[in-house]
Amino acid sequence: MSVEGTPHPIRKWEAHSRGERLARFAVYLGTAAAVVWSARYVEIIPEFLYDAPQQTVDLFRRMWPFDWSHYPKAVHAALIETFHIATLGTLLALVLAAPVALMAARNVSRSRALNLAATFILVSSRSVNSLIWALLFVAIFGPGALAGVLAIAFRSIGFVGKLLAEAIEEAREGPIEALKATGASPASLLIKGYWPQIEPSFWAVALFRWDINIRESAVLGLVGAGGIGVALDAALSNLYWDQVGLILAVIFAVVIIVEIVTSAIRKRII
């Protein structure tokens, strides 16, 4: 290449190219601007702020000790209901999300129109909060667990569908080609080519979403969709803070238990 003695042009070392640096700078600037704008214009009432520490102490004093007697009366049944809502909702979401995920995966569905339509469905499902879905379903099906199950399901479709679509797109093409070469039908290709490859991700996603859904289901009752949220809403409306405390503690315990269970399952199976 170069002969000894020929001068080299000075080579500078930069971590990022000029374009990258500009982009990063733009992001920093944009973030700073956004934060300043938000802080200036968001309405915060100072009187409430001064009050806050006292209010907080007052709150905790009213919550403790918990009203343990309330548990067998109202809380236990509601807790079971919450569990069912979360589980049925997750299962329903898996069933509904599977076809949408197939439509959204660019290696399975070659039509751009189909991909876009499926992506739109998934984004919409995710954008609408489960609480808002619950409002809609309560309006249609009336208050109760049915609205809750549907709310959980419809919210989860976006989450599950997106992750499944990503898993499908990451499937290795080699085995798929080999199966195509044997003359397999598209259905057989899905069952024997794609499914074995995405199966571990499928269960991981299901477990992950179920964990989140337990938390989500607990609050749906605030708008009437069944579960322990109903008990919470009642306690809040009546200002029975000791019951509120109990319910929050129970929710916390359930969340911890579910987390332990899902970690254990994940370690064993995945």
Binding site: G174, P175, E177, A178, L179, K180, A181, T182, G183, A184, S185, A187, S188, L189, I191, K192, G193, P196, Q197, E199, P200
Partner: protein, 259 residues
């Protein structure tokens, strides 16, 4: 249109393929593949060998030309007709392409996917005859005890044997092999090609093998086709392949070992 010769399995007519318009990978290839024995295709990387083989079972669609297989023009088929043609052509792949998480037996049985409906595949209710044949093929490739092992627990050579069993499970009339030995060590490579030769001969199936190891090709092939830059530059018996021919195919003399 002349009918396919009794002694030819496959006829390629003016086959061309360009992935990028204006840059043809295959240029106007016309060939007749004999109806028995092994035909080896040799040539440098990127010369279109793999494209050629994959055009035959339409994993790649040619830009122009015809591929006549027992009277059928494969380039004109689509949908169900294409699938029915594909099941008559078995393929052994470079990277084995097994479904890693399925067992060896399930992988072999995927060779029947062109023949059984999807619901049977899903419930694994293959006909008993297929199951018996699958076991027979596993015996033939020397993997009798591996039927229930997961495919990802096997070595490279073992996986390729499963690949061969899968291809033969289709009861094919033609066997394609796309660089079946490039991921294998020299000893295993010989075993694999030998196995293909034996099993194909037993069943009277012609084999087209795309291979980069020239010596291996010469040793087992009945016919050698040399490609260079998208065209056929040698077509004849392996013993007639001279160093001059190799130089034409691969370019440059330094790699040809002194005899």
């Amino acid at each position: 249109m002349t009918a396919a010769n009794e002694n030819s399995a496959l006829e390629l007519r003016a086959l061309s393929k360009s992935y990028v318009p204006g840059k043809p990978v295959l240029r106007d290839i016309s060939l007749t593949i004999p109806a028995n024995g092994i035909t080896a295709i040799i040539g440098p990387s990127g010369t279109g060998k793999s494209t050629l083989v994959r055009c035959i079972n339409r994993l790649v669609t040619p830009t122009s030309g015809a591929i006549l297989f027992k009277g059928l023009d494969l380039t004109q088929l689509s949908g169900k007709a294409l699938r029915m043609a594909r099941r008559r052509i078995g393929m052994v792949h470079q990277e084995y392409n097994l479904v890693e998480r399925l067992s060896v037996m399930e992988n072999v049985l995927t060779g029947r996917l062109g023949y059984v409906p999807a619901w049977r595949a899903f419930l694994r209710r293959f006909p008993q005859a297929d199951i018996d044949r699958a076991f027979g093929l596993l015996d033939a490739v020397g993997l009798a005890d591996f039927a229930t092992r997961r495919a990802d627990q096997l070595s490279g050579g073992q996986r390729q044997r499963v690949g061969i069993a899968r291809a033969l499970m289709q009861d094919p009339e033609l066997l394609l092999a796309d660089e079946p030995t490039s991921s294998l060590d020299p000893k295993t490579s010989v075993e694999i090609v030998e196995l293909m030769q034996k099993l194909a001969a037993e069943r009277g199936i012609p084999v087209i093998i795309n291979i980069h190891d020239v010596e291996l090709g010469k040793r087992f092939a009945n016919r050698v086709i040399g490609m260079s830059q998208g065209t056929v530059v040698f077509d004849g018996l392996p013993e007639n392949l001279t160093d001059r021919d190799l130089a034409t195919i691969y370019g440059g003399e330094s790699w040809i070992a002194a005899a």
